[in-house]
């Protein structure tokens, strides 16, 4: 039973229900309390201990039903198989033929479970392993006996033909059942593994060359990462009553008690939420990265004091309002309409920024610039970037191109770099996560 239980938990984890060790122990206790007799009651009780959000409850219900499903070998004509005593199940190879001929469904189902256990079917992960496991289970059940019987029947000539046909039919019936069983195991155990594999691949692939069909998945991943960052960084914003006594405040506060220090006052630290201004190049390949950066930042609005975004190619506009009342997709489309598809001009765009928005940059602002720095040989206006750098808390430059390409051709990256606090290559989700995490961390440390 314990092994079945462990397999069930593994299947749950595969379906993205987070199960901790403590919860495993709780679940075991619960199962012991409830007993294995009443299926419904056990299901409710286990869901209390294992699934802790409405979403997880739903997944739990589905997984439970699928995992504890014993409908293999239900007779095709629906007749209930006769009960079987345990002893008969012990020997298997010789009896398999017998079982199949008698269509003893219960015995077959049990034999299959036992065989499945022997070949460790719970290790199945990928759909390519289906055939392998089906063959192994059939082997463990003793399929050779049937094969032998078939060839014997064929060899015996005239009279055997009918029997051989019957046996063949029985064999293919057995095969189908086992294959379905393996299929079911795969969907239970394999789902998690392939999802993980896919997510891992997506997180490392370049945002510029994503397939359209991966976009949906990407959105989910971005949300997931954002949730994690929120959880990681939404700690206390104020440290109270810890550390150093603030002598001045304490004295002042205790004048009332004649200078006797009854009430202590502690030095307080306040942790600031960073204010973020994101300036994104929306030309060509940079646009894809910009989109995800912006989606990221807006998912994190809880942690950030204020987010403003700007988009440019030939000129620069503010795009904050686009994201506030639109979905990311629509917002990006609307932005592309306004400023997309123009020859990029960093100098012009930066001076646009200086005219309209430089006054809003203060010592609490982190300015994130996302762009490849390819300015079509126009004046890069590094002086403006220096001005932004002087006024702001940090300037972070994210470049989707790999470092060896910086400064080649019309790239002005090498000239901009001295005025940035941080220059990073950024073209996958993993890069983005690191940058955003870094942004939040610095904000907390600096306070």
């Amino acid at each position: 039973m314990e092994r079945t239980f462990t397999n069930f938990l593994q299947a749950l984890r595969g379906a993205e229900v987070r199960v901790s060790v403590a919860e495993t122990l709780d679940a075991m206790e619960t199962a012991e309390l409830m007993g294995w007799g009443d299926r419904e009651a056990l299901k409710y009780a286990l869901s209390l201990a294992l699934a802790k959000t409405p979403d997880e409850k739903e997944i739990f219900d589905a997984t439970f039903d699928q995992f504890f499903r014993f409908d293999s070998f239900r007779g095709r004509d629906g007749e209930t198989p006769e009960a079987n005593s345990g002893e008969e199940l012990e020997g298997k190879a010789g009896d398999l033929l017998d079982m199949v001929q008698r269509r003893d469904e219960t015995a077959l189902a049990l034999a299959m479970q036992q065989a499945a256990r022997e070949v460790n079917v719970e290790n199945i992960r990928f759909f390519t392993q289906r055939g392998l496991f089906t063959q192994r289970i059939l082997g463990a059940m003793g399929i050779e006996a049937i094969d032998a019987a078939i060839s014997a029947a064929v060899r015996s000539g005239e009279g055997g033909a009918g029997q051989a046909g019957q046996l063949r039919e029985a064999r293919s019936y057995l095969f189908e059942q086992v294959r379905d069983f393996v299929e079911q195991q795969l969907s239970l155990q394999g789902a998690g593994a392939s999802a993980e594999l896919r997510e891992d691949r997506l997180r490392r692939s370049r945002l510029g060359n994503l397939d359209r069909r991966d976009q949906e998945q990407m959105k989910v991943i971005v949300e997931k990462i954002a949730r994690r960052l929120v959880a990681l960084h939404s700690r206390r914003k104020k440290l109270r009553n810890r550390g150093v006594i603030d002598i001045r405040k304490t004295m002042r506060r205790n004048y009332g008690s004649g200078g006797i220090l009854f009430d202590l006052e502690w030095k307080q630290r306040k942790i600031d939420k960073p204010r973020v201004m994101a300036i994104c190049d929306v030309s060509g390949s940079v646009a894809a990265v910009a989109r995800f950066l912006l989606q990221f930042l807006y998912e994190l609005h809880e942690l950030l004091h204020d987010i403003r975004s700007f988009a440019f190619s030939g000129k620069l506009i503010e795009t904050s309002s686009f994201f506030k009342d639109k979905q990311a997709d629509d917002a990006v489309a609307a932005i592309m309409d306004r400023v997309g598809f123009m020859p990029t001009d960093y100098g012009e765009s930066l001076s646009n920024f200086r005219e309209k928005f430089l006054n809003d940059v203060d010592k609490k602002t982190a300015v994130i610039i996302l762009g490849d720095g390819r300015s079509n040989f126009t004046d890069p206006r590094t002086d403006i970037l220096k001005e932004i750098h002087d006024r702001s808390k940090r300037v972070i430059w994210l470049n989707p191109e790999p470092p060896p390409l910086w400064g080649t051709g019309d790239s002005e990256m090498r000239r901009y770099a001295p005025y940035c606090d941080l220059v990073r290559e950024c073209n996958t989700l993993n890069h983005l996560e690191r940058v955003v995490g870094d942004l939040l961390q610095v904000a907390q440390k600096a306070a």
């Binding site: 919860e23 709780d26 009651a41 201990a49 939404s234 220090l261 009854f262």
Partner: protein, 348 residues
């Protein structure tokens, strides 16, 4: 007059080093015979709750059963007004133990949830005992010796007599055991949530001046949440998690019958059907079970025997609390009423 004393600052000034004092004898964990029978099976719980007019579905009864037997806190989540708080009430009544309720809100802290020192009493006693202090110190020579003498007595001001227990401490020290309801935990701060962890897993708390207080009898703990924010994993891990959805029509009819026994059967069926239809709509706030009960009472008061469009229109504001919602339902009023009447006809 000195400003308010803060326990912590006083403690730091007068802290006496020494072994922590235990307030209470070691915990006995284990269920008493009187609960044992009442918690013997899930069906027994369901029946017992029904006698108290709390109709609970099987999953809810299972949750009570498991939580009481394993001694684990139960975190109850669900939309507002499905009877989460009532569940704790019913449990306390069913088991015959006192209920201790703690309403959470933003800014709730230890001094309001756990304990506070009775500062005024402390001060008063200090004043009264001032002269005595002279006597105590009279035979001491020099500062060091006086200090030594004082140290021997300073603990008396930080003893149980000066402790004002708040809900959590009350629940732990209750002689007979208790049902502790931590209501709307989602309204509290992250810090408070973290502070609860020790209580939820060990059933003990530390008071720096006195020592560790362990539960005399393990309380049955209920936490409720409306999901205005996600609870931390650490908290969830220590609790069993029960999600209470809106009841289906059958269960809701039984609830109405139990709560408003005088209601005619046909009206009950119609009313529940109507509310169930309203819940299908996309509203700002869905009508809760408690509001269905209110509505049933109002209709009974108006001597209505069945639903018709006019009665419904006049009483919509009993279970819908937003102007937009009332407007939205008003547009489908006739359709819903007809459906409800048909549902009644089907039953009849």
């Amino acid at each position: 007059m000195p400003g308010p004393l803060r326990a912590q600052s006083l403690a730091r000034l007068h802290r006496v080093p020494g072994a922590p004092v235990h307030l209470s004898p070691p915990t006995e964990i284990g269920m008493e015979a009187k609960y044992q029978e009442r918690l013997s099976s899930i069906e027994r719980i369901q029946e017992g709750f029904a006698e108290l007019n709390y109709i609970c579905s099987r999953p809810i009864a299972t949750a009570i059963y498991v939580s009481c037997h394993l001694g684990k806190p139960l975190l109850v989540e669900g939309p507002a007004g499905v009877g989460k708080t009532e569940l704790a009430n019913a449990t306390s009544e069913y088991l015959g133990v006192p209920m201790i309720r703690m309403q959470c809100y933003e800014g709730l802290d230890e001094s309001k949830a756990l304990y506070e020192w009775k500062y005024a009493k402390q001060l008063l006693y200090t004043q009264i005992l001032k002269d005595k202090i002279g006597d105590v110190l009279s035979d001491a020579h020099g500062l060091a010796e006086s200090m030594e003498q004082l140290h021997r007595f300073s603990d008396i001001f930080f003893s149980e007599q000066f402790l004002e227990p708040r809900p959590l401490l009350k629940a732990l020290t209750a002689e007979e055991g208790a049902v502790l309801l931590i209501d709307e935990i989602d309204k509290s701060d992250h810090e408070f949530e973290a502070f609860l962890l020790e209580i939820l897993s060990e059933f003990q708390i530390s008071i720096p001046e006195i020592g560790t207080v362990k539960a005399k009898k393990r309380p049955f703990v209920f936490l409720t949440s409306n999901n205005t924010r996600e609870m931390s994993d650490a908290l969830k891990r220590r609790c069993l998690h029960l999600f209470v959805p809106f009841p289906d029509a059958k269960l809701e009819q039984r609830i109405i019958k139990a709560r408003v026994p005088a209601i005619p059967d046909s009206l009950k069926v119609q009313l529940v059907d109507f509310v169930q239809q309203v819940r299908e709509m996309d509203l700002k706030k869905q009508p809760s079970v408690s509001e269905t009960i209110d509505w049933a009472r109002v209709l009974l008061l108006l001597h209505a025997t069945s639903l018709d469009a006019d009665v419904v229109r006049e009483t919509l504001n009993v279970f819908l609390k937003f102007e937009e919602d009332i407007h939205a339902v008003d547009q489908q009023l006739y359709e819903f009423t007809r459906h409800a009447q048909k549902a009644d006809a089907r039953v009849a």
